[in-house]
Symmetry: none
Subunit: 498 residues, 2 copies
Amino acid sequence: MKTADAYSRLVARLKRIHTIYTVADVLVWDEQVNLPPGGADRRAEQNAVMAELQHREASDPVLGELLGELEADQGPLDGDQRVVLRQARRDYDRAVRLPAEFVREKAELSSRAFHAWAEARPRSDFAAFAPHLERHVELARREAGYLGWGERPYDYLIDQHDPGMSAELIGRLFGRLKEELVPFAHAVVASPVKPDTAFLRGFDVEAQRKLALEVTAALGFDYRRGRLDVSLHPFCSGTGPDIRMTTRFDADNPLDSLFSAIHESGHGMYEQGLPEEHAGTALAMAAGMGAHESQSRLWENQVARSRGFWSHFEPRLREVFRRELGWISSESLYLAVNAVAPTLIRVDSDEVTYNLHILLRFELERRLFSGDLAVQDLPRAWKQASKDLLGLEPESDREGVLQDVHWSGGAFGYFPSYCIGNMLAAQLWYKLVDQHPDLEARFAEGDFTQVLGWLRREVHAQGRRYDVLELTRRATGAELSPEPLMRYLRERYGPLYL
Amino acid sequence: MKTADAYSRLVARLKRIHTIYTVADVLVWDEQVNLPPGGADRRAEQNAVMAELQHREASDPVLGELLGELEADQGPLDGDQRVVLRQARRDYDRAVRLPAEFVREKAELSSRAFHAWAEARPRSDFAAFAPHLERHVELARREAGYLGWGERPYDYLIDQHDPGMSAELIGRLFGRLKEELVPFAHAVVASPVKPDTAFLRGFDVEAQRKLALEVTAALGFDYRRGRLDVSLHPFCSGTGPDIRMTTRFDADNPLDSLFSAIHESGHGMYEQGLPEEHAGTALAMAAGMGAHESQSRLWENQVARSRGFWSHFEPRLREVFRRELGWISSESLYLAVNAVAPTLIRVDSDEVTYNLHILLRFELERRLFSGDLAVQDLPRAWKQASKDLLGLEPESDREGVLQDVHWSGGAFGYFPSYCIGNMLAAQLWYKLVDQHPDLEARFAEGDFTQVLGWLRREVHAQGRRYDVLELTRRATGAELSPEPLMRYLRERYGPLYL
């Protein structure tokens, strides 16, 4: 009785903290989508105050007492309640160990660094961004120290994104992947088959927007509980009943906008599938960023680059873009959808070479935090690694070290999640195909419910009960591995290119 | 030294409270402009938590101690600092004297009453709304009591919107206005000149949007510090560097969207002109709702319905709407812009008969709070007053007492601000014209800088130093009066209709 009461009070507090978080989240979305340039300083101030208010609630000593009380008497708690308690402890410790002043400093730096990055990138002016990045590295080290990870700052950062993972484990997985992926990617790139993408020009933007909404709704994204807008860099924010996704539209790059929208809707469907009645607790949290990315990538790649998907949507595309697609054969279109061509820009890259971009970033981050690499030396190190992995060397930092937004927010240890997600997506996919042999045949009929239904049950409904390694075991019956990803890439791209 | 320090601490607290307010304000804008339907409950929760967080900061006893300390030793404070202190006291008292239970009760009632009103209006079912309205009147009386205005509840309500005003003073001003306006309005309405508005059909909405942005930017709204979006009902929110205006676009009502945008940009330019370095203090607050409305109305009416304005923008309009305006003469267009036709609905009315709607509401509210009129007798009283003032009697309460949203939120004493704003707008206008005899000639050249420059100095830069009466005296050298409004209406509409 006493425990049940304490547990209810814990959940009420977690929900309140979550509500404050969701307000801060609206501000972040609004900043990328709507904010007039003159409002940047004000927004930095707002973000800082919201972070502080959230921190105050999250570090309230009464919450600490509640946690202590429940931890001392866990007998009456069931398994789910213990999951909630464990995550609440993790978050509480994080909140109380980070000084309010530090939290405020980091939020302000992130907002300013974002604007500095947005200005520095088009000018390839790494020097203008470097001081912000140095401050971020310094703050990240301090943060790891506060949380008791002083000796392993990069592991701390990875754990923030993917609980259960470490630099050492990622290094091993990525090492195995690299061994097979580099020769495979080089073979595909060297293939005499060269997709024609020259016809992807002058696609009406308003028609692209309508199609993106139509396709993502058909896959299962619920637009009564979300929306799709435009921003410089596509992203998905929001939770539960209010998911805010973005993409970007370019008349001369229609596949980018479509696949970005599908990718973000994969994230969005994960969030929409988390049980809203448990909002604010671990039962309604994603398992981690790797798990999140597995959802976006599975829809974007395994589903939306499949023959089944295109046999359903190609006629619709030809209806919408009659003029633009008039003389293009089905096979040319499908090859363009699965075009492989190494590029300097991660977000523009195909799914074969994409993972090479992640290996690059993981290695640089790892060296940055081991002390092996200084911020000022990043541009050079980037160029070298790019040449080694991709066979391409950026001429400017705009196409190199300045290309991604992540570091401007101090989000180190985030990039590996993309590749973890790619590995998991392929692993989930083969399990799904095992259980639903008619999967692609159903795609061809416009039916994607088997995918969403299975993911809802095996991934979304699980919340944060398990870390990504355990989630993988439970959903697929095997350890997380790069093998399914390599199998998938060979099966998808081998017949097209080799 | 001690006082200077206390004053700095006061300002820091006021800025923090203001920042929390601005976050809540973004949520309100987002709710009207972006929120997916499924997000409504979540947003209600977010709003409630933000209101609570704001109230906690605004009623912090430490703030009360600071105020007491400064009030006891005002010697070292200059005039501006005393203005800040006085307003801070006013806001603090309001925050601490309203019991939390009362605030919750009023918020709950407002929510229930809004839904009751929204259901009752289309059915003209005043009886279903009346109990909520009675409760609102009762709560308003209690609220006045808490704040020490127990004997004069309606004056309290007016003072909330327009500090310095009272029912007695408004009664005198409106009485003088009524005497001249009623016969003038009836004469205009009876004129054989009937504007043709039938051609205002089928105006491309995207072109309307571009034109609204172009015109409001030309008037002086700074889009680096604000934006214009679409909502069901136009409004202006935001402060300082981030003003969020909305309008609505209807292919068959192009002047409504244009004048709504101009109206809201008048509010927006006021907010953009408040000194941002003093954000959160009285020095960066509008003088009141009447003063605010004077800004929106001056741009919408005195400026944008003038011959000078149209001689500049008509060619541009004809360029954008070549097909739609092809055969319409300049004089027909100008008459359509200044069409007068009495209507039962306030928000649809022209600027001549608009004020009659306000006189009606003021008289009814005054009698409601003097005890002279019971809520149940409102519909009959409304119909009678409508017949007397407008010459039109609503057949149903939908077109009468149920037409406005204001009372469902307990916003009594708000309506008079609209007419105070109209009077002040005309009074400011004639002072401006006095000092800048070439004003309209410059409009014809597309130059509106004299207006904005003068308003910036005489109104915007003043913040809340003076109440609307003193602001009027200082800016125009005369007492607030209905004479300039009547002069303006005669000069604008006499030549067209009489």
